[in-house]
Amino acid sequence: MISVLYQNEVYRLLKSRKLKVMLVLMLLPVVVYFFTHEEITEYSAKALEISFQINVSHFLINFWASVIGQLVVIIVMSDLLASEIDRGTIRLLLVKPIKKSEIVFGKFFSGITAVLVIFGIPYFVMQIYMVLLYKSGFEGFRATFDDFLFALGVTVLVLGSLGAVSMLLSVVLSRPLYASLASFGLVFTAQFILPQLPFFDNPERFNLSYQIGVLLKRGFTLHIGLDTYKGDPTMSAVFFVSVILLSLIFTLLGLYRKEYGG
């Protein structure tokens, strides 16, 4: 039954104007790269891979996973359950033989699929464009494909955890707009305001973009600039996986506790 809910939700998301607008927004770095890329001096798969790692890290840390990317994920994920509760359609799901856990996980995975589309397409376009630019053909494509998947995986892990927190808040608040606002508030307080308190050392490590840098360090070994991001990638990954799991568990509990009188 989870597959039915997942398919329907993915279909609905892919058809939505919201997703298309977000996709266009996420393609902006590719357009920027198109006009501003460095002069190519060496045409090889190795040079391509180094350049790909440097450019993807740069855009990921400064744009895709920064405030803009976070806003996009919050908007997508906070709408998944809150819109069902807000419009009352959750009652149509409750009178079907579908478990509440299937509702939560079906929705979460459909949201993650939307995130994969919104971020995956720009990464892929960037990869293809760079392969063409470096004239490295299939060899270059193969050399950068692992990096493309790794970057996408890191994006999903970090922004997925943010999405899971948004889903939790959306069940508590029951309104997509309120849930989005609450998520923005929470995330920005946690990233930018709390770390300013005097007893937090190295406050930038609380920033999601910074943690992206820490995680990328594990896979983007050719980009030595990532060494400036201090921290253990494994610990960061464990932290984000824990946030996802805990948020989903509490979302499920929230769904069990909630009443749908409206």
Binding site: T89, L92, V95, P97, I98
Partner: protein, 312 residues
């Protein structure tokens, strides 16, 4: 007797406000059960508890002998639900919506599509299959909601104010469909505040007022008390009225818009039934209408509800 829905001391508070008070519903298998009560009596709240949208403050709900909400997933394999205000995914077409609901009911994709097509024709929205739900009128949405309740061929139908948005013709059509579904052996639980519709559709009734179940049972058993207020119409009302006024068993008789209202002394109802038609025939007057002034269910409703109000 096998009960499809059974509640025990079902009670619901919203804050300190008591909405449902020790409700003991018993809905036997294969009946059309009319859950009748005025607006705000607690019908929709009860239905929301039956469909797991609300949790009882205390009390038990059993559907098909299984506890709700603990066994919700098993129960819902055989339940079709139509909410009081049609809820649907407004951006979907009717066909997409019904197919989705069918798939969530456990049907395979092809079967769900097939049933969706059949049900669209059955409820009369076949030609609108590719219209988005947000483009439909409230009556059409109501029909879609009915089709959605029927998808998966459930054994129990829970319908909350199902005729609320239908036009008169739609209501007649709907009543016909309920009667034919009842013949198929389905158990149908209908909440309504329209007595005449409940009388036409239901053979069982539960009367609810201010969150309390006031009476419940077969309509025929509940309405056994005889009426003493009748409506009569004849080919010559003048003769009929004069004759009625002379009869010792008639307390009062008067004419209102070509209908004679007769209040009969309840001790002499037999005489009234036997002698009055005979007398009219002897005078060459044809009897056109002879029926209780209020419907039996309406009467029982008025009696029971006034008792409920007094006890408060």
């Amino acid at each position: 007797m096998e009960y499809i829905i059974e509640t025990k001391d079902l009670t619901k508070f919203f804050g300190k406000r008591n909405i449902i008070y020790h409700l003991n519903l018993k809905v036997p298998k294969g009946v059309v059960y009319g859950f009748l009560g005025p607006n705000g009596a607690g019908k929709t709240t009860t239905i929301k508890m039956l469909t797991a949208a609300l949790r009882p403050t205390y009390g038990e709900i059993k559907i098909f002998g299984l506890e709700m909400p603990q066994r919700r997933v098993e129960i819902m394999k055989n339940v079709g639900y139509m909410p009081e205000a049609p809820i649907a995914y407004e951006d979907m077409t009717i066909f997409e919506f019904l197919t989705y609901m069918g798939r969530l009911s456990g049907l395979k994709k092809e079967k769900a599509r097939e049933q969706a097509k059949e049900l669209m024709r059955y409820v009369g929205v076949g030609r609108l299959a590719l219209n988005k739900i947000k483009e439909l009128s409230s009556g059409q949405k109501q029909r879609v909601a009915f089709a959605s309740a029927l998808i998966g061929n459930p054994e129990l139908l829970i319908l909350d104010e199902p005729t609320a948005n239908l036009d008169p013709l739609g209501r007649i059509e709907f009543i016909g469909k309920i009667l034919s579904l009842a013949k198929e052996g389905k158990t149908i639980f209908i909440s309504s505040h329209i007595v005449s519709e409940v009388e036409k559709m239901c053979n069982y009734v539960g009367l609810i007022n201010q969150g309390r179940l006031i009476a419940q049972g077969k309509i025929s058993e509940l309405t056994e008390i005889e009426e003493n207020d009748y409506d009569v119409s004849t080919s010559d009302n003048k003769v009929a009225l004069q004759s009625l006024r002379e009869k010792p068993y008639v307390r009062e008789a008067w004419e209102e818009e070509n209908i004679i209202r007769v209040k009969v002394d309840p001790r002499f109802l037999d005489e009234f039934f036997l002698q009055f038609p005979k007398y009219l025939t002897s005078q060459g007057v044809r009897l056109k209408l002879f029926k209780p002034h209020t419907s039996p269910l309406e009467r029982i409703l008025m009696e029971k509800f006034s008792i409920g109000e007094e006890s408060d």
